[in-house]
């Protein structure tokens, strides 16, 4: 087995994920207040608590776990990904199987200079989230050069 991947997401990615998740949580709380606000009954309290818990999960817990568990490595022969908090999944994609590669930037990612690298194989796609934009561009160029010889599916 190749050695475990050791590259981590950029630190700015943690902030980007927290902001993105937090925004969703705020929307959830606002929706509860807008629909059930001022009724003061048990249902409103339960829904508010649920929305607050969701905010906490989406804004803090999930981004932290994601940041701490994601590892990747781009080697000459393969791309190696490992992630997951409860179920740890390690995926190895041979370089010769990659059909094409691209990077995407979300609006929040743009703020923090964060991009996602996506490699496509005949069986599906694999994403490396939370890369600095320069890193993502460098990896995309390197992978694109390595796969110039197309796979014969």
């Amino acid at each position: 087995v190749p050695p475990d991947p050791d590259q981590r997401p950029a630190r700015a990615a943690l902030l980007a994920w927290m902001l993105g998740g937090g925004a969703m949580g705020v929307v959830a709380i606002a929706a509860v207040v807008a629909v059930f606000g001022g009724r003061g009954d048990a249902l409103e309290v339960v829904l508010l608590v649920a929305a607050a818990v969701w905010f906490l999960l989406a804004a803090v817990v999930v981004p932290l776990l994601r940041y701490r568990t994601w590892r990747y490595a781009v080697r000459e022969e393969e791309i190696d990904l490992r992630h997951g908090a409860f179920v740890v999944r390690r995926t190895i994609v041979p370089m010769v199987r990659i059909q094409h590669v691209d990077t995407t930037v979300t609006p929040i990612g743009q703020l923090f200079g964060i991009a996602t690298l996506t490699v496509h194989t005949a069986a599906g796609r694999h994403q490396v989230p939370g890369l600095e934009q320069v890193t993502a561009d460098r990896l995309r160029t390197a992978i694109a050069r390595a796969i110039r010889e197309p796979d014969d599916v």
């Binding site: 087995v1 995926t91 190895i92 041979p94 005949a122 069986a123 010889e149």
Partner: protein, 472 residues
């Protein structure tokens, strides 16, 4: 062949009938609605037929195909003509289809399949004369079988007895589902809400009546699936030529598919719930670009004895030898891992349904539902545990597993795996276990769960593509 060519004029009728089929439900409704004033209903029907004919003719007139620069070009569309270009090197298979209309005119339809295509052909040429089809196939590098070779080379055909067993044991759900859906939609549209209420009132009120209804429904589904299986697999023949497999099947619609052997990334031996106890299985091809096809389109062997499958495949696809002997198994301590999650999930589902029934005022024996759910979970888990196994020998890896009911053995070429995976949950990790999975280019995945961690890492290491291919 560089000149632009038209389809055979029979395409006109195929397109017109296809257009009519699309509007058949509204059309029937219109006729129903027009029952009180027959004149308008007939008028609507005539208008629909006339429109279909005009559109069919226009589509035939506007459709052209030609081969240049190593690519098949296909121009179609009435209002906004559009040209599709498929490089010949990307063509995974060329299927020949003969529906009733094509048979009437002695022409064929060609489905050109590529690795990226969805269901059906990437390009479908609805009607070509035999000569045009042969010329195009030759130009695309998927030539028609020469008549002299028809008898030579390894081949396998489905016997009549096997056809019946295959149809009875393997419901062609792909056929049953749309038929049932169409009937339901039709019923809803024709009956409307009031009448649907009357139907509900007419439903049986006794246990006796319900049992009769269930038996009648089951028999109906059985008959439809039996007919579907016979229609799909009647006359099934597969021939191996040096570079390709040639598959023929179908009663009403004759299909002849050619699959380049290089496009076959894996084969799957599927033992369905009804077939495994009888010692039967079917074999499916995993071909890049065929993932979205109905299961019949990917069938290499519709039915054979499990004991014969290795010998049959050794003749048809010697590139992917079916491993003999007993598979390597997960360690005994992994057994409870197969059970725990499913027992808990089954018990939980039972508890939820018990709670709903109790809240709705039904009989309150919640523990029965919980126990039944847990038992069902344990049954599924035990089935998975007993099925789990793997083989790895040189360039071939095979994994045996069970989903809900069917036991599946996936045989794949190691050097063509798209990715491989090592995964484990935290409790499994503490027990020193890990799961191994892989994907092939059709998108199919296979995995064997809860191996010894060292064994799993070793297996993942051996599933690499090996040394890089030489350039050129």
């Amino acid at each position: 062949m560089t000149s632009e060519r038209r389809l055979h004029p029979a395409a006109f009728l195929v397109h017109a009938l296809g257009g009519l089929r699309d509007v058949i439900v509204p059309l029937i409704l219109a006729l129903f609605a027009g029952a009180r004033s027959p004149g308008s209903g007939t008028l609507i029907a005539l208008a629909a037929v006339a429109t279909s004919l005009v559109i069919g003719y226009a589509r035939w007139r506007m459709t052209r195909y030609w081969v240049t620069d190593g690519a098949l070009h296909f121009r179609s569309g009435v209002l906004s003509p559009d040209t599709q270009v498929v490089p010949i090197a990307r063509i995974a298979a060329v299927d020949e289809v003969q529906g009733p209309v094509q048979r009437l005119f002695g022409v064929v339809a060609l489905d050109v399949q590529t690795a990226g295509g969805g269901s059906g052909g990437e390009i479908r040429l609805t009607a070509l004369s035999r000569a045009d089809a042969a010329a195009l196939r030759a130009a695309l590098g998927h030539p028609t079988a020469p008549a002299s070779e028809a008898g030579s080379g390894p081949q396998w055909r489905l016997s009549r007895r096997e056809l019946v067993v295959a149809a009875v044991t393997g419901p062609q759900l792909g056929i049953v589902a749309p038929v049932a859906g169409a009937i339901a939609a039709f019923g809803q549209q024709v009956l409307g809400n009031d009448e649907a209420g009357q139907v509900v009132r007419r439903l049986p009120g006794t246990v006796h009546g319900w049992v009769l209804l269930a038996v009648a429904l089951a028999a109906g589904v059985m008959l439809i699936s039996l007919a579907g299986g016979v229609v799909a697999f009647s006359g099934f023949v597969v021939r191996r030529e040096p570079e390709r497999l040639r598959l023929q099947r179908g009663l009403l619609q004759r299909r002849a598919a050619t699959v380049g052997i290089g496009r076959v990334h894996a084969i799957r031996i599927v033992e369905g719930a009804l077939r495994q106890p009888l010692g039967y299985c079917s074999v499916r091809l995993e071909v890049a670009g065929y993932a979205a096809e109905r299961s019949a389109a990917r069938t290499l062997v519709p039915l054979c004895r499990r004991d014969d499958v290795a010998a049959i495949l050794a003749r048809l696809v010697p590139e992917l030898p079916v491993p003999g002997g007993a598979p390597a198994r997960p360690p005994a301590r992994a057994r409870r891992r197969y059970l725990t999650v499913l027992v808990v999930a089954g018990g939980g589902a039972g508890a939820i349904s018990a709670a709903i029934v109790t809240l709705a005022g039904g009989p309150a024996w919640p523990w029965v539902a919980v126990l039944a759910g847990a038992a069902a979970g344990a049954g599924v888990g035990l089935g998975r545990w007993r099925a789990a196994g793997w083989w790895q020998d040189g360039g071939v890896v095979a994994v045996r597993s069970r989903a809900l009911l069917a036991r599946t053995t996936t045989v794949a070429a190691v050097r063509r795996l798209q990715h491989r995976e090592l995964s484990c949950s935290l409790p499994a990790r503490r027990a020193g276990l890990a799961s191994v999975g892989f994907a092939v280019a059709s998108g199919a995945r296979a995995a064997v769960a809860h191996l010894d961690r060292g064994v799993a890492r070793d297996l993942v290491g051996r599933l690499g593509p090996g040394p890089a291919r030489p350039p050129g």
